[in-house]
Symmetry: C2
Subunit: 290 residues, 2 copies
């Protein structure tokens, strides 16, 4: 298995924020980067972990630098993993032509379209490869106490990875939260573009496998989901939180299991994310430390 | 007087983070940008204010996005102004040749060298022009309750503007704090380059007018200064906090008036700044709300 190579390390809130790269098999033998925050208490033993998925155009750095998550993660004694949002440098034709498709826009799927299927496999990268390589590295992270969250495209990713893990019976994550998530990608321009590009079966394949509003309707048993979006979100037409909330209600989930909150006058930016970062960390801490 | 033109506005911790530009007279008729955070309680009346000065290569955005100041500023009911770090687009020969001189590196001086004297006047921009134009705009900021802080080159700026305001008898600021400040610019490469470039009298003029370690030796009467630096700071040879601390002790200031803290293993980054941002906001709140 490839090894994590440390690129930088900064002390942060008494813990450490370290950037690594490694040769990723899941992404077709390309270098992948990530940041990991380890709280100070991790020197005494393994700690629970949050997987944070970024939005369009982001790298592993944006939320680490602007998200405001580490103050509470340090206080709660929780690690955070910040993966990148797509492969980099795959050399695929058209990869860098759009800001919302290709580089920086992996949509957390495993591509099935022949043009993208070798490299664009962020689903496997996040769900399998990263936990395996981090565990093998000996870092003090306990993946049996893992939750997931994300922003925008990464909010979509968090919801989809969470719901998929329940439907598969793996139950990888104890809880899921999302800021301004793309809740119904198969009916909005961003998601349609991504699914038609990456998936051989196009939007139909996407609706079936990677659409949170479809998936929540198939889930039986308990879920722990918190969603916040801003009522002044400039991309609200891409998000459709109401469709997801409706589907959750129809599936029998009440506010104690699926909470969708419209936050007055907030927009889509990290100024919004960081405002509610503390609440999201505490929400997850309630499950991770139970 | 020029008017503030709003470029963007995001709700943030119940308040508002707004980016403005205006035609700056102090900077020789160039557009200047700034961010202002107004806490939610400012809808009820004027609030105290922190002036935050950024470091080399930064703009008005870096600390607003990465500094982690607004959570406590919102809780304390304090505004924060984030100016840019230099004029932009002055068109001076050599302006963009170095990352530590020219654009992004105004050093908070009023240049006296003929080549730079028309535009590089960040001292006047921060101390006079910004308060005047913000006050004239009607924004609910009370400049009679103002403190100042900054990072690296901006930490130098905060110390120099604070000490100068005491020496001039204006007493503009109630307190001053700095992260990793350049404490003795006239004896380190960054500062020598800046002073020799911007000032007709070179380093000698800089030592006299813009060197915190010189200025603290001239100050009589009370000061309220907090400095944090990381013991693993990769630019520590540019900072010289010990020289400043020694000069403060020789001038008769004890720990209650000048506190210089080396924080174990922290570096020069915003991961360091954001770790101690809360403590700095609370330090200033003690004076601003007294």
């Amino acid at each position: 298995m490839a090894k994590l190579e440390q690129l930088s390390c900064s002390k942060h809130f008494g813990g450490k924020l370290t950037k690594y790269k490694f040769r990723s098999t899941a992404l077709g033998d390309l270098d992948a980067r990530l940041n990991i925050f380890l709280p100070g208490n991790s020197v005494h033993g393994k700690v629970p972990v949050l997987m944070y998925l970024g939005g369009l155009t982001c790298t592993e750095d944006n939320a680490a630098q602007k998200g405001g998550f580490m103050r509470d993660a340090a206080a709660e004694g929780i690690a955070i993993i910040f993966p990148d949002t797509s492969p980099r440098g795959a050399g695929i034709r058209g990869e860098d032509d759009h800001w919302d498709f290709g580089t920086g826009a992996g949509w957390y799927v495993d591509a099935t379209h022949p043009q993208w299927a070798k490299h664009y496999r962020m689903f496997t990268h996040v769900t399998q490869e990263l936990p395996q390589i981090i565990e093998a590295s000996g870092l003090p992270v306990d993946f049996s106490r893992q939750s997931i969250l994300g922003h925008s495209m990464g909010g979509h990713g968090a919801l989809v990875l969470y719901l998929t893990s329940i439907l598969s019976g793996r139950n990888t994550y104890r809880s899921c939260s999302a800021f301004s998530p793309v809740c119904a990608p198969s009916v909005v321009p961003w998601g349609i573009k991504g699914f038609n590009g990456y998936l051989a079966g196009g939007v139909e394949e996407g609706r079936d496998k990677y659409d949170a509003t479809t998936l929540i309707g198939k889930v039986k048993g308990p879920v722990n989901i918190l969603i916040d979006y801003g009522t002044a979100d400039e991309f609200k037409h891409q998000l459709k939180p109401d469709l997801f909330a409706d589907a959750a209600r129809k599936a029998g989930f009440d506010e104690s299991q699926v909470r969708v909150r419209g936050q007055d006058d907030y927009d889509h930016s990290y100024y919004f994310v960081s405002t509610f970062a503390s609440e999201h960390v505490k929400f997850h801490a309630g499950f991770l430390k139970a």
